[in-house]
């Protein structure tokens, strides 16, 4: 009974700011359009096997390098494969890489950041020096170094891109933790004998989430872009994978002959990254109106 009433109180406390957040977010027209586009894209990626008009890997040597038409909305490539279908399947790859790598980075980073901020002292110093070290490399360089160790391939790209998200999330979570650990309710929890682990998980972690969510959206854009760049330079997804960056690299030989080979995959990367960045901007503005740019 006591438990139930406590959790009701907690819900009452958290719902109010959440409702306010939603109200502010719904006013962000651009972010809403971005969200709608991303929902559509995610839907298309999930339903790829059913909605893609053609098999993304099936060659069709009769219809090679054809421009956009009613039969092939985005044209066909050198093997006669339907580019529109390949882009839909490619969305699966890019979105998976984006979500998985940022999730891994956020999980590791937030964990490290909370532990560092909560315990302070040498734990804090050690974690922050690790972040300094990771930030001492430009992001894509770190990713390339990781691929040099693990070898090229899309799975390794996920790890490579995840690593350079870790310090960003660690610093973010540490900052919030430093504020929250002085909060009265944390003191109260400690006074009634709640363990460190429980305090971090139940009382500090939720407080770090708003900032983490904003960064999550922005980092997905960056991560998708980085992953596509790695595939473009040949260190990520390998042909015949319909990864967008790899498709661009494939199509560059046919510029001037078949422009649609480089047009549509590039557009797909641009719109997806733009979507996540605009969504991130909107979330940030809704979360903290003070941070708004004007």
């Amino acid at each position: 009974m006591t438990d139930a009433s406590m959790s009701m109180d907690e819900i009452g406390k958290t719902r109010k700011p959440l409702a306010e957040f939603w109200k502010r977010f719904l006013r962000q027209k651009v972010a809403l359009v971005a969200l709608a586009f991303l929902v559509l894209l995610i839907g298309a990626a999930i339903l790829a096997p059913w909605i893609a008009p053609y098999d993304p890997a099936a060659p069709d040597y009769v219809n090679v390098l054809q421009g956009p038409s009613a039969a092939h909305w985005a044209g066909t490539d050198t093997y006669g494969r339907d580019i529109f279908s390949r882009i839909i399947w490619g969305a699966r790859i890019s979105l998976t890489v984006g979500f998985l790598s940022v999730s891994l980075g956020a999980l590791g980073g937030v964990g490290l950041g909370i532990v560092a901020g909560y315990y302070g002292g040498w734990t804090d110093s050690a974690v922050m020096r690790l972040c300094d070290l990771l930030l001492a490399f430009p992001g894509i360089l770190l990713a390339i170094a990781v691929i040099a160790i693990l070898g090229p391939g899309i799975t390794n790209v996920i790890y490579a891109v995840a690593i350079f998200s870790i310090p960003v999330f660690a610093r973010l979570a540490r900052g919030t933790t430093l504020q929250l650990k002085r909060a009265v309710y944390v003191d109260a929890a400690r006074a009634v004998g709640v363990g460190d682990g429980t305090i971090m998980l139940r009382h500090i972690l939720p407080g770090t989430l708003p900032n983490v969510i904003v960064y999550f959206s922005m980092r997905i854009g960056t991560s998708i872009l980085t992953a596509a760049a790695l595939s473009f330079i040949g260190l990520g997804a390998q042909p015949p994978s319909p990864e967008w960056g790899a498709m661009l690299a494939d199509g560059r030989t046919y510029m001037g002959v078949a422009d649609h080979l480089t047009l549509f995959p590039g557009l797909a990367i641009f719109l997806t990254v733009l979507g996540f960045n605009l969504l991130g901007d909107g979330l940030r503005d809704a979360l903290d109106p003070k941070l708004r740019m004007n």
Binding site: D132, F137, P138, A148, I149, A228, G256, M293, N294
Partner: protein, 306 residues
């Protein structure tokens, strides 16, 4: 000032040391035996053993690390596995093209970024502002390698005005530096705009207006000058981004720089070159950050006396 400089310099030493340990550990993190990698796939067990002794891989790790630090300080990074030439020569040949590329990219970035940022801030809430900020957010999201391809398609393949790639004349510089600089220009535009708006609220700007200083002078002299401090910091921090970005751009434009060397070396598993380049990129990055801090303090006496 001097004590700040010394403190800041000493502060970078642990970071540099950690980077060196990480780069040193790199070879030991590789799957398989480093000696076998160096000796090549056809080497006999005897050859591998000889390579192991020659590289000192049979000695204890701390001793190996000291040797590595010693060699590095003397500029000895070993031999490229691909070309069998000293790594220093391989990098030396390709260093300047990358340096020039990043510098010209930064010029594009600062020129375009400041212009768009200032115009957006001054015409706040009007179409120039919205246009500028739409450009900025698009610039941040635009895949630079795609932009490079689109430019090559237009200016080289169709119009035939500019070379598709390579290095040499000023025409070779135009597209790669623009492509590399555009993302940073977008970041600079957003940053300049908010720095400018911040400063427009300051007392001295209001005073200048109140005493009848022409608007043009208020913008360029009173506001921009003061906005320059955070902007300089931003320029410095973005240099690291350009260094990273150059890796991809060099691949697009067949630019004979260190970025392309790195990509080629990863494909060929040329570990001594990778090791040296990763070290070089990160030390450059650390030094730039150091320089930014020093410039920042020089430009802002308030911090100096704290």
């Amino acid at each position: 000032m001097l004590s700040f400089l010394i403190k800041r310099l000493l502060g970078t030493i642990p970071v540099v040391l950690m980077v060196m340990i990480a780069v040193f550990a790199f070879v030991h993190l590789l799957p398989g035996d480093p000696a076998r990698l160096v000796a090549g796939p056809e080497a006999t067990a005897q050859d591998v053993a000889a390579v192991r002794t020659a590289l000192g891989l049979d000695r204890p790790l701390p001793q190996q690390f000291l040797t590595y630090v010693g060699n590095t300080l003397q500029g000895d990074f070993g031999t490229s596995l691909r070309t069998r030439r000293p790594v220093v020569d391989e990098i030396g040949m390709r260093l300047m093209p990358t340096v020039w590329l990043t510098l010209f990219a930064m010029i594009w970035a600062v020129a375009l970024g400041l212009l768009i940022g200032v115009v957006s801030a001054v015409r706040r809430g009007r179409w120039q502002d919205y246009g500028g900020m739409i450009l900025a957010v698009s610039g941040i999201s635009f895949p630079p390698f795609w932009l490079g391809l689109l430019l090559i398609n237009l200016f080289s393949v169709r119009l035939g005005w500019l070379p598709t790639g390579g290095y040499g004349t000023w025409q070779h510089f135009l597209m790669p530096s623009f492509t590399l600089g555009l993302g940073v220009a977008a970041v600079m535009a957003r940053f300049t705009r908010s720095a400018f708006i911040e400063i427009a609220r300051e007392d001295y700007v209001r005073t200048a207006r109140a005493k009848g200083v022409p608007e043009r002078r208020v913008i360029w002299r009173h506001s921009l000058r003061n906005a320059l401090i955070p902007i300089i910091t931003m320029v410095g921090l973005q240099f690291g981004f350009l260094l990273g970005g150059s890796i991809v751009i060099e691949a697009v434009f067949a630019w004979p720089g260190v970025g392309r060397l790195l990509v080629d070396s990863v494909s060929y598993r040329d570990y001594p070159v990778i090791q040296a380049l990763v070290l070089m990129f990160s030390i450059q990055f650390i030094l730039i950050n150091l320089l930014v801090d020093v410039l920042y303090v020089l430009a802002n006496p308030e911090i100096r006396y704290q």
